[in-house]
């Protein structure tokens, strides 16, 4: 509290701040409007390391010590790199990690950190710590430069002849503008053009077709209707997916996954138009969310709700897949299914509407809406 002895002007502040002030008044931009005049820069007293020689020496030794540790740590890093086997595991307390990885991080990190700490310690404790004052210059150019440039511009404009032959300027702009057209057109081959034909062959079509067996998505075993219990959910793929390879396999797999659920037929709503799309309460729906295309997987058997883990859109599989919650706007597409002669589930056709997220050209008039029949 002792230095808080009133609004006391510093007895010595005269020389100190005045210089800065006199120089500054020449370039005033914002007027000084406060009720108290600028007392000028406070004078900084010496640091502890300035007045106490042994403290100064201690700081010196500390900086040297930190810098001396760096080569040791760097050597330790190299030794660890070659000496620690790749498969050693360090397991102590909360740390469970590859020993080589950990030792490199520790030695390298400490070495780099010590360089930084040594520099900052040096700057704060040993270097001259007196603040300096530098005057600002306006961001704008001096008025004479502006005038000179304006004049040079006028001279150059006169030299160009544009004043009398104006069309050159317009023609140049037009020429440069049109030369951009080929540049843009060059990118037209970035991808195939999704006209209606290509859309029908790609994003509006899946591997599902009449007679394609529904198979378990891990084992590729066909699924018997009699094996499904009430309340169960099975992730499935079309049997012909395994014939696809490479990139085409992934593309098809991004569209064709389905979930098969079995519910009690009397406890769900089946519209007349979909009377023959199910097999004794076994229904198949696209697994690809109609919002942004995440595979939906969280099944609540008592409510027949299927929840997307990405953005929580919720669909009622007991009501033709209508949206009951979340950001999705369209029902999950249902796949019409039947049983073949051996009792295996098969598709009756492809999906009747495109699966997955919306796109501009999508004709969404045929999607199932709540209350349709």
């Amino acid at each position: 509290m002792s230095e808080h002895n009133g609004l006391t002007p510093r007895p010595h502040s005269g020389d100190n701040g005045a210089g800065a002030h006199d120089a500054s008044t020449a370039m005033a931009t914002v007027e000084h409007v406060g009720p108290i005049a600028d007392p000028g820069l406070p004078h900084e007293g010496p640091r502890y390391t300035d007045v106490n020689t042994s403290a100064g020496n201690r700081a010196y030794v500390q900086v040297l010590g930190m810098l001396a540790l760096v080569p040791l740590l760097a050597i330790a890093f190299v030794v660890c790199y070659f000496a620690v086997p790749k498969d050693w595991v360090f397991d102590y307390g909360p740390l469970h990690s590859n020993a080589l990885h950990l030792s490199l991080g520790l030695t390298g990190g400490l070495a780099v950190l010590l360089i930084g700490l040594a520099c900052i310690h040096w700057a704060k404790q040993i270097m001259n710590d007196h603040e300096m004052v530098e005057m600002r210059h306006p961001a704008s150019s001096p008025a004479e430069d502006r005038a000179a440039v304006a004049q040079m511009w006028d001279e150059g404009a006169a030299d160009s002849g544009l004043g009398r032959r104006k069309l050159i300027g317009g023609a140049l702009v037009g020429a440069v503008g049109t030369i951009l057209l080929p540049v843009v057109v060059m990118f037209a081959d970035m991808g195939p053009h999704p006209g209606s034909g290509l859309r029908a062959a790609t994003i509006e079509k899946t591997l599902w077709a009449e007679g394609v067996k529904l198979v378990n998505d891990v084992t590729y075993e066909p699924i018997k209707a009699s094996e499904l219990e009430i309340g169960s959910l099975v992730n499935a793929e079309p049997e012909n997916l395994k014939d696809e390879h490479g990139a085409q396999f992934v593309r098809e797999k991004a569209k064709s996954p389905i979930v098969i659920v079995r519910m009690e037929p009397e406890r769900i709503k089946i519209p007349d138009s979909r009377k023959d799309w199910h097999v004794a309460g076994i229904l198949a729906y696209s697994k690809i969310c109609t919002h942004v295309g995440c595979p939906i997987s969280l099944w609540e058997r008592t409510t027949h709700h299927l929840l997307c883990p990405c953005h929580q859109s919720t669909f009622d599989l007991g009501d033709s897949g209508v949206v009951v919650f979340g950001p999705a706007a369209r029902s999950l597409p249902q796949l019409p299914i039947a049983v073949d002669g051996d009792g295996f589930l098969v598709a009756k056709s492809d999906f009747t509407v495109p699966v997955g997220p919306s796109y501009f050209e999508r004709d969404s008039r045929h999607d199932y809406k709540k209350g349709d029949n």
Binding site: K86, V133, G191, T202, R365
Partner: protein, 594 residues
Amino acid sequence: MASRAGVTDRSEATEVQTPGKPHAMKPLSGVLGWADDRLGLATAGKGGLRKVFPDHWSFLLGEVALYSFIVLLLTGVFLTVWFKPSMAEIDYEGSYQLLKGIQMSEAFASTLDISFDVRGGLLVRQIHHWAAILFVAAATAHMLRVFFTGAFRKPREVNWLIGVGLFALATIEGFAGYSLPDDLLSGTGLRFVDGLIRSIPLIGTWAEFFVFGGEFPGTLVIPRLYMVHILLVPAILLGLIAGHIGLVVYHKHSQYPGPGRTEQNVVGYPMFPVYAAKAGGFFFVVFGILMLMGGFMQINPVWKFGPYNPAQVTAGSQPDWYMGWVEGAIRIMPNWEWHLGSTTWSWNIFLPGVGLMGLLFTALGVWPFVERWITGDTRNHHLLDRPRNAPTRTGLGVAGMTCYAMFWLAGGNDIIATHFHVSLNVVTHVMRVAVFVAPVIAFLIAKRICLALQRSDRERVLHGSETGIIERSIDGSYSEPHAPIDIDAAYTLTQHPVIPVTQATPGLDENGVPDPSRKVSRLRATLSHWFAGHQIPKPTRAEIEAAHHHGDDVDGVDPHGPDQNGVDQNGVDQDGADRAVESAQNPRELSARH
């Protein structure tokens, strides 16, 4: 400066130097002479070597971002030595047993190789990811510092715009980066981007086919993102960062107000050696901490997620933090979609995804010009605002942060629901309201706090600081003595220019003639009143003199009525106050006023 060890007395010596002060010099010789003969380094060095940079912890935020970026460049180069940006499907043959023989893309397999078979590879991968997270975080914090202190004002508007560009590009760069490993999480993120691109009205499907080279996912998107991630965006970032720092050097750094710090000077430490050692050292500190984080803190363990499989997803999956708010907006958006004829307009994805990001960057970009239009302030500003002295701006900033935070929280609505055992649907509905209501409440509270702080500044200048000591007088009354503040503090609390409130110019002058000059519209005057009205007036010189000269005899000036008998009669500060008044009448200081 507060940590000056035990030395508080002020000595006579003053050490204000001007850069380039002539010494007994020896001319450059040796290597420097050789170089100067060819490059003219001395002239450049003359201007820059002892350039002054002010010191404040908040100025380190931008430095952290810069140093993280350098760490990203260094570690990124190392990663490119092994990473294969290919979506060709291969069987994994590396040393991670749990995925042996599994089919995956070459991109994912090479990420596993970096993590398990390249010594130090996992360390560098993790440093790179932590540095990316820190880069965006530090840049965000730096941007908030610039906003709240008004450092975007003239002449720094262009640098603010560069900063907004850097902020947007950093987000894109980070997203492109974490999509590259082609693990389950990044593949799910790409699928989301596919849905986002598709949702663009009119051109969505075409944009999707162009970006992915056909139908999702194809084989081209990772090689293309790789080009974007390691060449295109870093090159633009590098150029913008160079411009950003170049303008800081040209304008000279802004500084916080205080005694001796004016609009015309900059007070701080010289570049060589102090600032170079501090800033250079700080680079190593940031790098060292990132290395330790890379060593000790796991990030993005892609081997646990497995390769991308479009039929799988994990519950509770989250993007990197800076995409969280967009994720939240996507989650809480109502399911609005238009079906017009044979077309689909996917507002439920386009508005929160593309629209909201566009809105944020546009709002940030135009703010300096909007504020300038409202206040009509065309002056240069090198002294930073204390946030309380621009209450409406500060309130708006806090409202923006709150809105962002609400969207960000909504990005974890499932995690909130499962951790706190509340209904997911309720959380979503609450967040839908909160993104609109919480910012308004935050604005009102923040503005009120600013005004309260202004009031408290005024009180401190007029009556001193509360001491926390309760004294009982002889007649039994209790009071708290106030300790007067020193002139440095008092100056700092009163130096700020008050933002003026503009009045609408009447449409007609006194002769009934329309006045075309100095037109201030009614809208602008209303906004100006909203922006700058209601501020607590600064104490005037007369009020300060009255408060100190006449003690607290003046009724109504001092709200601490009971200590009428307190401060002055205890003799704590009476003569200090007298000297203060003398100081205010000191001819030198009067001469400094305009």
